[in-house]
Symmetry: C2
Subunit: 310 residues, 2 copies
């Protein structure tokens, strides 16, 4: 029989909303800049304080994100919200900074197969590139985070060694990033994997903050978040409505839904600053107005508990 | 920051397959006895050793379960499988024993609202009834378990006090049940709730084995199972395909899917005796042949990881 850990929850968890970037990037529905800005506005009304708002990658490869400059020109600046822009190289970083992003997120890959398919780079390449990108970010005084993608499994290569993830985290810390995110890009992780990875990355890179990014493709995302919290992590990515899908399994779901995360955390007494009802409303707006297709979140179907007196 | 618990998983977890009873009972598709028996056969081929096979309640109220006798007459007896029959009173218990059930499961309710709607009984009524049912089961030398339903929240009354659940568990233990199941009938629990409830029930009823029954209505089922395992629980209910729905939220999902549970556990190195691929195949058979509607499980859409060489 296993021993019990500490049953108490952390007081507060920071949710990084990734819907406007990671969520919309893979969605079959292309939406225009005005609808993206309405989405961002609704997220802010629901209490989001930090979000991935745009990416600055090749617009020919990711047409859904071609309007990153226009999105950043239109986001509200008086709401105390931090906007993260995604960049994969020095050119992207410069564009993101010029567009007014408050933070830059860079993506490393933990294995060859996904690296080749996603950004035509090996894990080593991405670590070397991060060194150069980090110098520019430092000179511009813009905080930089690094996501280690496919950290829990690669759709092409299969298993990913946790020591390799830890080594990339060491490289990221050496480059001076303020935060490292571990990405379960294909939703393969179990909560035991999460505990192991968090411990290995903490040992290899004790200084940067640690953020976890889960997909619910195999239904394990909330279990993984719970395990991450137990391991001391307090920063979690999530996507309103669970939008984003999984390019490697067309019928499957991708990003864990923000409202599902908020429900679990609020039932555990964990403060997120996010209003569950407003987030559910945003998911339903995505489903019926903005994207016009069902979204993956469960709270938008089941509603919260206990039921509100209306 | 919370402290880490033990990261290691239990060696083995017993999965009680509830699809043939709890799954089919609420399904909009009525299937005949032959198809039920094929379902049971497929479950056994996938490795299931213990299942809820039928219920012996008023057939006018639950027409989908009216053929409990015929189902039990047709199940294979040479495969080392234990068949559980559900009963809500002495008459049901006698019918279940006569039909050849190896074990009986009785249902207590943890709050008034659900008790009234589900079986027209208060929590006290169900505890008193269990006393009488337990005498019959004891005389017949048939093992008896008690499920405490709505243990984590009631769709009518809202919050359910964990002390009330513990008191019902004490009553069940005093009646001599060999196993107590805590049912999250509406999928409201968080993993922190699970830890608290398991600890409270253990303290009140140390002798019976403890089984946990989760619905994934609010996406928390696998997190709750993980928390239950951490608290030392090693018996978990699940339903092939996640069939069963949620009568209180028509668009929402009900029972956690067996294949989703098996995936998480097998990634954590926990043995269940169940073959993931065969269980996924069974879920797809339910979806395309037996029930002819989509099922809630995620593994049947995403497939396992790492991908099998074919």
């Amino acid at each position: 029989m296993t021993q019990t850990g500490q049953a108490s929850a952390p007081e507060r968890v920071e949710i990084v909303e990734v819907g406007p970037r990671d969520g919309l990037q893979n969605d079959p529905t292309l939406i225009d800049t005005g609808v993206k800005l309405e989405f961002i506005h609704r997220l802010i009304e629901a209490g989001v304080k930090r979000m991935e708002a745009a990416s600055f990658v090749n617009p020919k490869l990711v047409p859904a994100m071609a309007d990153g400059d226009a999105v950043m020109a239109g986001v509200p600046r008086d709401r105390g919200v931090t906007y993260i822009g995604l960049a994969l190289n020095e050119r992207g970083l410069r564009r993101a900074i010029d567009a007014g992003c408050d933070e830059i997120n860079f993506v490393m890959v933990a294995s060859e197969g996904f690296g080749r398919a996603n950004q035509n780079a090996t894990p080593e390449d991405t670590a070397d590139l991060l060194d150069r990108v980090a110098i520019l970010a430092h000179d511009a005084r813009v905080p930089l985070s690094a996501t280690i993608s496919v950290a829990f499994g690669d759709p092409f290569d299969g298993e990913v060694d946790v020591n390799r993830v830890a080594e990339l985290a060491r490289r990221a810390a050496a480059a001076g990033v303020s935060e490292i995110a571990l990405g379960d890009t294909i939703g393969a992780a179990s909560p035991w994997d999460v505990r192991r990875a968090v411990e290995a990355v903490r040992a290899a890179a004790p200084d940067p903050r640690l953020r976890l990014h889960f997909h619910n493709t195999r239904n394990t995302a909330l279990a993984n978040i719970y395990a991450a919290l137990e391991a001391g992590v307090t920063i979690i990515d999530a996507s309103a409505g669970g939008i984003g899908g999984c390019p490697f399994a067309p019928r499957a779901t991708g990003n864990v839904a923000t409202e599902d995360v908020v429900y679990m955390l609020s039932r555990g007494g964990v403060e997120t600053g996010i209003d569950l009802d407003r987030m559910i409303e945003t998911a339903r707006w995505l489903e019926t107005v903005a994207l016009r297709h069902p979204v993956a979140s469960m709270l938008s179907k089941a509603g919260g508990f206990p039921p509100r007196a209306s």
